[in-house]
């Protein structure tokens, strides 16, 4: 589904991603871990098309198409979704109106007619229950005055509504208490299917107790320095990242 080859990217003239290679297949759940500042959010930003990043080398193929050539909206329309680490507050744009606009723009891209209001409301209700998103928040301005947890849940609610092929969750678990975490994880698990894939960025192993990954990658200093299975996450939880950092530096100095 997604193939990342030797991806290099910089922001403000500073090299952040230094040769990422990653292959994500349908049905898979990939976890990306790594210390603060290692480039996890940068990777998701580059994939989603944030404009202040410049790709200097490498390529990304998504469902057979060159992802890096597409505008952010076309990436979304092709089935890519990124849940933001820091969702934006947009006063004056209602949550529901925003979602309806998004859904219908994606449908129009696939030559589908706009969704009828009745159908839209039905879908809204269904997904809102799936991720236990407070119905009162739906008519409010987008994320305005939402608590940290409500914002994160809204990201997952949008994910459920837009039904992408590949979802990237950037630290959706941080800022959630354990109950909220369980609900969000349960929601994500319900959305898993054989033709969808997930890339879950997290700091903590605890999320991976609920969302069991097929692969765990460690991102450090702009590169994936280790790949393993869910046991790697446990090991990281226990030992921290320092041993990995040392390994990397040893390799570099050889």
């Amino acid at each position: 589904m997604l193939t990342i080859k030797n991806l290099h990217a910089e922001v403000d003239g500073k090299q952040i991603l230094k040769g990422i290679n990653l292959e994500i297949k349908k049905g898979e759940m990939h976890a990306i871990m790594g210390p603060n500042g290692s480039g996890k959010s940068s990777l998701s930003s580059v994939l989603a098309g944030r404009e202040n990043y410049t790709v200097t080398q490498g390529e990304v193929i998504f469902e057979g198409k060159n992802l890096l050539d597409m505008s952010p909206e076309d990436r979304a329309r092709e089935g890519l979704f990124m849940a933001f680490q820091y969702p934006v507050e947009i006063p004056g744009v209602s949550n529901l109106h925003f979602l309806k606009t998004a859904l219908n723009e994606i449908r129009a891209y696939h030559s589908l007619p706009a969704m009828e209001s009745k159908e839209f409301l039905k879908l809204t209700k269904e997904k809102q229950q799936l991720v236990d998103f407070n119905a009162n928040l739906m008519n409010r301005s987008l994320n305005e005055g939402f608590s940290g947890g409500e914002k994160k849940r809204n990201e997952v609610f949008q994910l459920a509504m837009l039904d992408p092929k590949l979802a990237i969750l950037d630290e959706t678990d941080s800022g959630l208490d354990i109950d909220a975490l369980r609900i969000v994880a349960a929601g994500v698990n319900k959305l898993r299917s054989a033709d969808k894939a997930f890339m879950v960025i997290t700091h903590y192993q605890r999320l991976l107790e609920y969302i069991v990954p097929d692969f765990v990658h460690v991102l450090y200093n702009g590169q994936i320095v280790k790949t393993g299975t869910k046991e790697l996450a446990l090991e990281l939880e226990e030992k921290g990242y320092d041993w990995l950092k040392e390994e990397v530096h040893q390799k570099e100095s050889v």
């Binding site: 505008s71 952010p72 909206e73 979704f81 990124m82 934006v88 947009i90 109106h97 925003f98 723009e105």
Partner: protein
């Protein structure tokens, strides 16, 4: 008409004076003559005139004009449609260059609310009492020029307790075969406890010649009267507008004024002023300006708190693109006697290009001590992060910008209580943003 004379010379000596204007029984002639004298004395403002510092009006008066109000323009159904507001259910007064066209208008009947030509109503005691009497107009040269030589306009009078089942829509059509200086003039009087909704909109139908519109509307609200007053300015590029709206509010009256300046007249200067002469009044002034290209939009507002216990609330918002230039000056004068005044003012701007510019200044003169007054001014750029958030959900750039501009304008458009007008404005915002992206 010659272009080598200054505009002032042209008006003072080059056109037929007030004596040539024929109203019913010549009843307005004395007022016209007085105003003409005032105009000559005041002269035209320059950039050294404090109130015109940011608007170099001389620049817009250089062209040669005729006083085209003498032209009897005509208008087709198609042209009229373009001036309309889709789905709006209203009474309709169509004016061509300031003159009411009864045959294509639908005026209220039944007598409690009358809509007539100023020229026909010239002898009416209300008109005699109020015409050109607003204190804030006395120092305004363009208002004086209008009073002296205006073509015609509407006199709207609502009797005690009168109201209408739907809004009255005044459609101005400006048409000129050559550069024209057009001067419409209205007076709206609402007697005790009357209520009315008035929408003014304008359309220019000749792109080849410049239409310079110098309009004045005076409003009088007697005790407990309420007026919803919408002014929609969306005409052709080749037009220039100076507009004075001057309102007098008596006790317990409520005035809700909305000013929407949309593309693409090259000059818009609005002087909106309200004199509060009775207590317990409510004044809401809402403004939204969307400017592109080299448009220059200047809003001067003035709320004059003369007596105690009045509330005024003002919110003006602007979105500026390209090389557009905005000016906002909000004056609030709280006189010594005007205790317990609440006066709020806010001006927010969104600049969507590097070259767009806004000059905003509050002018608070407060001489009473027991008052609540505040003012604020912000200027912001488009939030790239918000835009990216929307686009990352599949919303195209144009739709995303349109959502954001709509969101910015929301506190204004949300106050509009006529759904068809809300829809119309949303569509105008969409077109504005689309135009911005496609050029």
């Amino acid at each position: 008409m010659t272009s080598d004379k200054s505009f002032y010379e042209f008006i003072s000596n080059g056109v037929p004076g007030p004596e040539q204007k024929v109203d019913a029984d010549n009843a307005i002639l004395p007022a016209r003559k007085l105003a003409f004298g005032r105009f000559k004395e005041l002269g035209l403002p320059t950039v050294k005139t404090e109130e015109w510092r940011y608007t170099n009006i001389q620049r817009y008066l250089k062209d040669a004009f005729t006083l085209a109000q003498e032209e009897q323009g005509t208008v087709t159904a198609e042209q009229l449609k373009s001036a309309g507001i889709p789905q709006l259910d209203s009474y309709r007064a169509v004016l061509v260059n300031g003159r009411l066209q009864a045959d294509i208008s639908t005026l209220p009947t039944g007598g409690k609310i009358t809509v007539s030509k100023v020229s026909d109503a010239a002898g009416n005691p209300q008109l005699q009492a109020w015409f050109d009497k607003h204190p804030h107009l006395q120092s305004q040269p363009f208002a004086a020029l209008n009073a002296a030589l205006f073509a015609d306009g509407l006199f709207i009078e609502a009797g005690v307790n009168a109201s209408l089942d739907k809004p009255l829509h005044i459609i101005h059509v400006y048409t000129a075969s050559a550069n024209a200086f057009i001067q419409p003039r209205h007076l709206i009087v609402l007697h005790k406890s009357a209520t009315l909704e008035v929408i003014e909109s304008a359309v220019g139908i000749n792109d080849n010649a410049i239409a310079f519109v110098n309009g004045v509307t005076e409003v009088v609200l007697e005790e407990n009267a309420e007026l919803w007053h919408y002014n929609i300015q969306s005409t052709v590029k080749n037009s220039r507008h100076i507009y004075h709206t001057s309102t007098t509010q008596k006790a317990d009256s409520r005035y809700h004024h909305f000013n929407f300046t949309l593309p693409s007249a090259e000059l818009t200067r609005n002087n909106l002023s309200v004199a509060l002469t009775g207590s317990n009044t409510e004044t809401n002034l809402h403004g939204l300006y969307l400017a592109t290209g080299t448009q220059h939009v200047d809003n001067h507002t003035f709320v004059d708190h003369l007596v105690p216990n009045c509330n005024s609330n003002e919110l003006y918002k602007g979105v500026l693109l390209d090389d557009a230039n905005g000016v906002f000056t909000g004056k609030i004068h709280v006189h010594q006697d005007a205790q317990k005044t609440n006066a709020f003012q806010q001006n927010n701007n969104l600049l969507m290009s590097e070259k767009a510019n806004i000059n905003s200044q509050p002018q608070l003169e407060i001489y009473a001590d027991d008052v609540k007054c505040s003012h604020g001014f912000t200027v912001g750029r488009f939030s790239e992060e918000s835009l990216f958030y929307l686009r990352s959900r599949g919303i195209g750039e144009e739709a995303a910008k349109s959502l954001l501009v709509n969101a910015f304008a929301f506190d204004i458009t949300d106050q509009v209580h006529i759904p068809a007008l809300q829809d119309f404005l949303a569509e105008k915002i969409r077109q504005y943003v689309a135009g911005a992206i496609n050029n």
